[in-house]
């Protein structure tokens, strides 16, 4: 989880990822950033994110992302 925060802050340092709950819905992260983020996550956690998982609900908050990562790691 901490590693996730590090990655997020590295990408776009200006937001407080502990607090933001609507990163996608409030247009804080655009699709280009999301893609960069995914490729980073895939490397870091050794997972593959399928295209169907790229929905706002999975990326709106750090918690949601972490839930996705753990789910994909288990598969």
């Amino acid at each position: 989880m901490d590693r996730l925060y590090e990655i997020l802050e590295e990408m776009q340092p200006e937001y407080d990822y502990h607090k933001e709950k609507a990163l996608i819905d409030d247009h804080l992260l655009d699709s280009l950033t999301v893609l960069a983020l995914i490729s980073e996550l895939e490397d870091e956690f050794d997972i593959t994110v399928p295209a169907v998982e790229i929905i706002p609900a999975n990326f709106n908050s750090a918690d949601a992302m972490w839930a996705l990562i753990t789910r994909l790691m288990e598969e």
């Binding site: 655009d30 280009l32 893609l35 960069a36 490729s39 994110v49």
Partner: protein, 529 residues
């Protein structure tokens, strides 16, 4: 061309359908809606409605076929050993893909051959001319059913979703047809995902609250269209056809006026569409979310024509950039160019596809392709300079979340959008470029001081009323942006006030709307796409 903002639709068709819907029992309501939708379609396009039925049949059958493939797979998986499962999945996934591909070929095939053949042949002829072959092909005139660009994409989103197993295939043909032909969304969207089909099929009772809010929304849309879009029409017409006789200041006015007109026309129509559906009790997806509060071009496209952006994102951008070859490329690039610029290379490739598609979807013409490429270039460039801007701001202690900085971003974005819209509206790519050049080569504001801007078919009062109404829309947008649900807030008022609001809105339309002698209402800009 009939539009949603017409006497026929608002005073005849919609009331009749609403009344029929109100008095019929539940099951009859479904088929009544379906019948009304096809009657509407027939009224607009005549026998061309058969193309729509063909598309419905195609995606319905493909959906059923995919269903059988998936059922066969599940059976095979049950009896299979663990080691074989992966191979079985892959085998059946291939079969599903074949069906999705077939649906795509049929649906896009119809769209391309009906809408893009003239454009294709035009360009082929130009090529033949440059090669001096002396041969020319005849450009056929093809009649295109209304809303084909909209329903084709919707139909395909259904097939894609079924193929990805995000949605169970539809067994009931009529449910699918009603969703794809639903009359409010027929001409100009918004694109609906298939989950709305279940909602529409439920045919809820008409409720006073829904009806009231829907009616307000419709009236607000009519106001936008009739006060601004129709009123500036003559000026826009004149500026874009007779551009050579105006100076740079007027070109700027042309860009701003058309952007305003397009926003008011399109978002106004969508208000009428969503309001119509709301009167029945259906909730349609929003298509606009205060686009001019966007701080970047890429954010703009998540606020303007949202459902098209979402379609392209979900079915073009992500699948493409998450495909195996592009993922490999991403990895390579990240190693070479770092975390920011590495992924940018591959997403640019996917973005290019998105914007080519977006441009072409808007119409068969080079100016539309240019429009797509313009936004593609702006988004990539924006992403490219972001790190530079961030470090620059940090160095000079500029707070990027402060109000003045955000305001600067919003105005910059709006100006870039307006310039793009100018190319979009220009009669051809060439005239667009001439107009753009004129903005700088003849950069004077003389037309505003010598009164030339009052000779565009708009007098001083016209400009004033447009400005006043734009400010009103701005205030409402600001409220919405701050999270205020305007319609809900109005509905909480006492009954007398609610009725008075309706009465005032109707009076405003009749008083300040641009209609009657001397006004030509603007053709629905998006219905031709």
């Amino acid at each position: 061309m009939l539009s949603y903002c017409s006497v026929e639709y608002l005073l005849v068709f919609l009331p009749v359908v609403l009344f029929g819907y109100l008095i019929l029992p539940k099951t009859a309501r479904r088929y009544f809606l379906l019948l009304s939708s096809y009657a509407f379609f027939w009224y607009l396009s005549g026998p061309l409605v058969l193309w729509h039925v063909a598309a419905c049949l195609c995606v319905w059958l493909c959906g059923l076929a995919i269903d059988r493939v998936l059922a066969a797979r599940d059976e095979a998986l049950l009896s299979a050993e663990r080691s074989q499962k992966k191979a079985i999945r892959a085998k059946y996934a291939g079969k599903v893909r074949r069906w999705v591909f077939l649906a795509g070929v049929v649906c896009f095939g119809i769209l391309l051959s009906l809408k893009y053949t003239p454009f294709f042949i035009d360009n082929l002829n130009a090529l033949l001319r440059t090669l001096h072959t002396g041969r020319q092909l005849k450009v056929p005139s093809i009649l295109v059913p209304v809303g084909i660009s909209f329903y084709t994409l919707m139909a395909m989103s259904y097939v894609f979703d079924v193929g990805r197993e995000q949605r169970a295939p539809e067994k009931n043909f009529f449910r699918l047809t009603l969703w794809l032909a639903f009359f409010p969304t027929l001409m100009e969207g918004p694109f609906m995902r298939y989950d709305t089909a279940e909602q529409i099929w439920e045919v809820p009772r008409i409720k006073g609250e829904n009806f009231q809010k829907g009616l307000w929304r419709i009236l607000y849309g009519v106001l936008k269209k009739m006060i601004v879009a129709d009123r500036v029409n003559s000026a826009v017409e004149l500026l874009y056809t007779d551009f050579a006789s105006y100076d740079g200041g007027m070109m700027f006015l042309a860009a701003v006026l058309f952007t305003l007109q397009e926003y008011m026309e399109f978002s106004g129509t969508i208000d009428i569409v969503i309001g119509s559906a709301q009167c029945f009790g259906f909730v349609l997806p929003e298509n606009f979310n205060q686009p001019f509060f966007a701080k970047t071009i890429s954010e703009f496209w998540t606020r303007w024509h949202i459902t098209l952006g979402a379609w392209l994102r979900d079915y073009v951008f992500y699948p493409l950039s998450m495909s195996a070859p592009l993922k490999k490329l991403t990895k390579k690039c990240r190693a070479k160019f770092g975390n920011h610029y590495g992924p940018l290379v591959t997403s640019s490739i996917a973005l290019f596809a998105v914007w080519l598609f977006n441009g072409l979807w808007h119409g068969a013409g080079w100016s539309f392709i240019f429009f797509g490429m313009y936004h593609f270039a702006l988004i990539v460039a924006g992403s490219f300079v972001t790190p530079v801007v961030i470090s620059f701001c940090e160095k000079h202690h500029i707070n990027r979340r402060s109000f003045p900085y955000r305001l600067f971003q919003m105005i910059r974005t709006a100006l870039l959008v307006a310039v793009g819209e100018m190319f979009f509206r220009a009669l051809s790519l060439k005239t667009g470029l001439i107009m753009f050049r004129q903005m700088f080569t003849r950069a004077t504001l003389q037309s505003f001081t010598d009164g030339k801007f009052l000779k565009l078919g708009m007098d001083r009062q016209d400009y004033i009323i447009v400005a006043v109404f734009v400010v009103c829309v701005f205030v409402i947008s600001l409220l919405k942006e701050r999270g205020c649900r305007v319609l809900d807030a109005l509905y909480k008022k006492p009954m007398f006030i609610r009725c008075l609001i309706t009465a005032v809105l109707v009076a405003l339309i009749l008083l300040f709307g641009a209609y009657g002698t001397g006004y030509v209402p603007v053709d629905p800009i998006y219905a031709n796409f």
